[in-house]
Amino acid sequence: MDTRAYSCLDCGKCTVACPISQYDPHYSPRMVVYSALRGHKAQLLSNSQLWSCITCSMCEERCQSGVQYTELIKLLRTEAHGLGETGQCTHGGALQSLMHIMTADHLSQNRLGWVDKRLKTATEAETLYFVGCQPYFDVLFADIGVKTLGIAKGAVKILNSLGIVPALLPNERCCGHDLLWAGDTEHFARLAEHNLKEISKAKAKRVVTTCPECYLTLKVEYPRYFGSLDFEVVHISQLLAERIAAGELKFRRSAKKVTYHDPCRLGRFSGIYDEPRAVINAIPKLELVEMPRSRTSALCCGTQAWMNCGTINKQIQAERLREASATGADVLLTSCPKCQIHFKCALHDGRLGVGIEIEDITSLAARALIV
């Protein structure tokens, strides 16, 4: 894997753009690349800062030499993981255990309890909806009011109204995104293997996701490990935008002022900026006000891969929430369940003094949909 680190000109634009460096003067992407090039291996791999990068790709956006910094971080973390190094697990390591448990060969999960009678689903179908870890998130983060299953229900409702009965996997595993970005490629590969087997059993030709991390992992990372896929991966906003353009979806009015937060995995990593905005613009009376930093310059939701979340990450979240609130919007829309979790966590701190509703674009579209 060529990360183009050798092209680094040592200009430091990455460090200027880095949200972590803004608050942590000791963290510098430029110095990480410098140490890597100088071969300061031991120092680099045992440095706890290796795990602080939020892999938001803002530095890559600014780098004129095309250094793939997040790819470099992923490779360094994989090496460090092999040496027994690891980041600081958040949430008591519950999510890491959850992901490890999901690598078990024989699992019979009860993860589809949210599917109510009004939703039509199948076990085998051409289109498959990849739910992601949302059933687990709603238990884990119930205390901060996280309700990501509304996204899942909304997605099936939208698909149904398009005449699509999606297949759901009763034993879908975590896509493995967070293990991969924590350098644990072995467990990632096991999860991927299980998912690919289940998807092929369901005879799916197209996999729809509502989570940008699942989207990126299935679309880009799985083929790296297992060769080209025999199915197409789409994010629901792409499907929605396409069907809206074809005039197949109608929405009732929703008189609200919203602002949209581009998740890094959907935006900078996948280049999907217009589709979510097309969905917002299709809803009558829904007014979109952009934050000063949007699209390629969007600030990250502050943390990654369930590790190294602390005061610095909280400050980034607070900064983003203040920015959203300053637009005068009632609702901060996003299209990633993780962004929702991180923002709701930051909002939970009463001292922040920001009151803004957080909602996912899929659940908003499903609510406004005229069936």
Binding site: G92, L107, R111, V139, A189
Partner: protein, 151 residues
């Protein structure tokens, strides 16, 4: 002295017990002093308060192959830190929901309140939990120990 006999079965459940340092652990000590008998399948982990537990520790025990997990705490009105057992109960409810989602019988996780110095209660509760898990069989989570290298 006669060694205690256990039911003739190949399956010996592995159980992790998180014990609160105060009432519950005094129960463990009294059980020892009074020579109360309970099966050796439980491995006790002493914590300063059950309120110190979080979901991560419980899931970790299951991840590492525990067939059951017991949380041994203090009665509500006798918590050394007033609110420890209350937060332990919240974690317990959360963990049971997670186990259910993962397809693990939530009854593989138990919360028991042991009154101060009651070795008999501790021995009885542990025995009945071990019996329950013996009947239920091994945990459905069989994790591969070997490491598969990616292609």
């Amino acid at each position: 002295m006669k060694l205690r006999e256990y039911p003739a079965t190949d399956f010996a459940p592995r159980i992790v017990g998180f014990v609160c340092n105060w009432s519950a652990y005094s129960g463990v000590e009294m059980a020892g002093i009074n020579k109360e008998e309970y099966p050796p399948n439980i491995q006790l982990v002493r914590v300063m308060c059950l309120g110190r537990l979080h979901l991560g520790l419980i899931l970790k025990a299951f991840e590492l192959g525990a067939d059951g997990v017991m949380l041994l705490g203090c009665p509500l009105d006798d918590c050394h830190y007033e609110s420890g057992i209350t937060s332990a109960k919240e974690v317990f409810t959360e963990a049971r929901k997670m186990l259910n989602l993962l397809g693990v019988d939530p009854k593989r996780l138990a919360l028991v309140e042991v009154p101060l110095g009651r070795g008999d209660v501790l021995a009885r509760k542990v025995s009945s939990f071990v019996k329950h898990i013996s009947k239920a069989g091994s945990s459905p989570l069989r994790l591969r120990v070997g490491v598969a290298s990616p292609a």
